[in-house]
Amino acid sequence: MIQKKICMIGSFAVGKTSLVSRFVDSIFSDKYITTVGVKIDKKTISVGTQDMTLVLWDLEGEDEFQKFRVSYLRGTSGYLLVSDGTRPNTIDVALKLQQEVETAIGAVPFIFIINKHDLIDEWKINESDIDHLRSKGWEVIKTSAKLGQAVEEAFLTLGARMLGT
């Protein structure tokens, strides 16, 4: 079976670990527990008639305390670039990280995730900000790890992109 490594990348507390937990184990916890280092999970998905095992590297969030280790990207076939709609600065961090990733491993498929859609009333980014991201030719998906909204769609879309379908 095809195996693809994908990385979860973004600022701290945007919900990377929650998205993986929701996708792999269908669970969610409201309590924020920070990630130190790397957590690796696996899940098999089907894209069309093709089965594929995703090896999910949940990387600790970028912030003033922890810097992103480029060596963790080795062999990455795609990534979810995760931000939090309630914290506009996480979009800036995601944009910076996207540049760093592209410099390190070149242009591989990625999906721009704006998480915490369950808190849409508290979002500080608007549709024109999202249109700006889409104008770069990027796929932008609004997710809620809490409600499970569009989580599977995000991983499946990335899977399809990695297969070039």
């Binding site: 490594k5 701290f12 507390a13 924020y32 527990i33 920070t34 130190v36 280092g37 790397v38 957590k39 690796i40 090896v55 590297w57 969030g61 912030d63 003033e64 305390f65 922890q66 280790r69 060596s71 963790y72 080795r74 062999g75 914290r87 600065n89 500080k124």
Partner: protein, 351 residues
């Protein structure tokens, strides 16, 4: 040192150590910790040689860095950073690998971080919780600052309206003045705070007209030389009205009111200041004020076309206006057009 002592030491340190041979294979040193066998029960080959790259995708990745490090043959140690490994029951173990290079050999170490990880996690959790709390506080400060600015702007605009209405001007004109000036300030690279300041201060440019007698201010037709001298006093009156403040925005409004009729070649009034002796805020407002006056109807003239307006602005570049600002103005024409179209109804374009 006896082998048994070394093994005891490894146990105590919670580490599993492998020696790397020159052909790139690994041999375990000492006894194999229980936690390691629990996590990787099939890790060891019968002949006790082993392949860490097969134990976990994380180690497979780190071995690239480790080999690079060993190939340098430089005494020292490089770390993988922590990672979480789950057992078959889903329990999490925090581990960290390192590559060690000594005179007597090369070693691969896997450490069960256990308590050390928990301490690191707690510290980071506190740091990140604080960061999130600070973000919330900053957002609250930003919101309240915006409310104060809105209030300041409204008070300023209402006061200025009192002066402008005497001059048959409209609220739309004074609001446009703020918007044009903000566009130029942004292109000049001003901070967002300074851009906000000029947006509020620019509408006060003619506040001194409140001190000009009706017989001059509202006179239809051409002013005599004496009347024109009286009219020109509005700059100094405005300057006096706004002088001596400790507020940055009011100080900027003072400069604008006092100096917005100065000219780049020194032929303006009230002081005849030349070039960059004229405060930049006043030079910005001068461009905005003349443009707005030219493209709109006044009691003494019809509106000019854009071609005529631009012709005049370009012609007076370096005489009336700061030449650099005219270049920036021409580069911002699309924004100026949008603002000029604002007639007081609907929303002022925020560019």
């Amino acid at each position: 040192m006896k082998d048994s002592t070394v093994h005891e030491l490894f146990d105590l340190l919670n580490v599993f150590v492998l020696k790397r041979s020159d052909n790139g294979t690994f041999q375990p040193l000492g006894s194999i910790p229980e936690w390691f066998l629990h996590l990787f029960p099939e890790a060891l080959e019968p002949d006790r040689s082993c392949a860490p790259e097969e134990w976990s995708p994380f180690l497979e990745n780190f071995l690239f860095d480790a080999n690079e490090f060993w190939n340098k043959n430089k005494k020292g140690r490089t770390f993988s950073g922590p990672w979480i490994e789950k057992d078959s029951a889903g329990r999490e173990f925090s581990l960290e690998a390192s590559a060690v290079c000594l005179k007597d050999g090369k070693f691969f170490v896997v450490e069960n971080l256990s308590k050390a990880y928990e301490v690191q996690l707690k510290l980071l959790q506190v740091g990140r919780d604080n960061s999130l709390y600070n973000e919330l506080l900053e957002e609250e400060v930003r919101k309240r600052t915006a409310q104060i600015q809105d209030r300041e702007e409204e008070v300023a605009l209402r006061l200025v309206s009192a002066a402008e209405f005497r001059d048959d001007e409209t609220g739309a004109h004074i609001r446009r003045m703020g918007a044009y000036s903000a566009v130029l300030a942004k292109k000049l690279g001003w901070s967002s705070g300074e851009i906000d300041n000029i947006r509020i201060a620019a509408p006060m440019h003619d506040i001194g007209k409140i001190g000009i007698p009706d017989s001059v201010l509202l006179k239809p037709g051409r002013l005599t030389d004496e009347e024109y001298d009286v009219m020109k006093q509005h700059a100094e009156i405005g300057g006096k009205m706004l002088a001596g403040s400790k507020t940055r925005m009011i100080n900027m409004a003072h400069d604008i009111a006092l100096y917005h009729h100065e000219k780049w070649d020194g032929s303006g009034y009230p002081s005849g200041l030349p070039g960059d002796e004229i405060p930049l805020s006043a030079r910005v407002v001068a461009v905005a004020d003349v443009y707005d006056a030219l493209v709109h109807k006044r009691v003494y003239k019809p509106p000019l076309s854009e071609v005529e307006t631009l012709g005049i602005m370009k012609k007076t570049k370096g005489h009336h206006f700061d030449p650099n600002l005219i270049d920036i103005f021409l580069d911002s024409l699309e924004d100026f057009r949008k603002i000029a179209a604002y007639d007081g109804s609907g929303k002022l374009p925020i560019v």
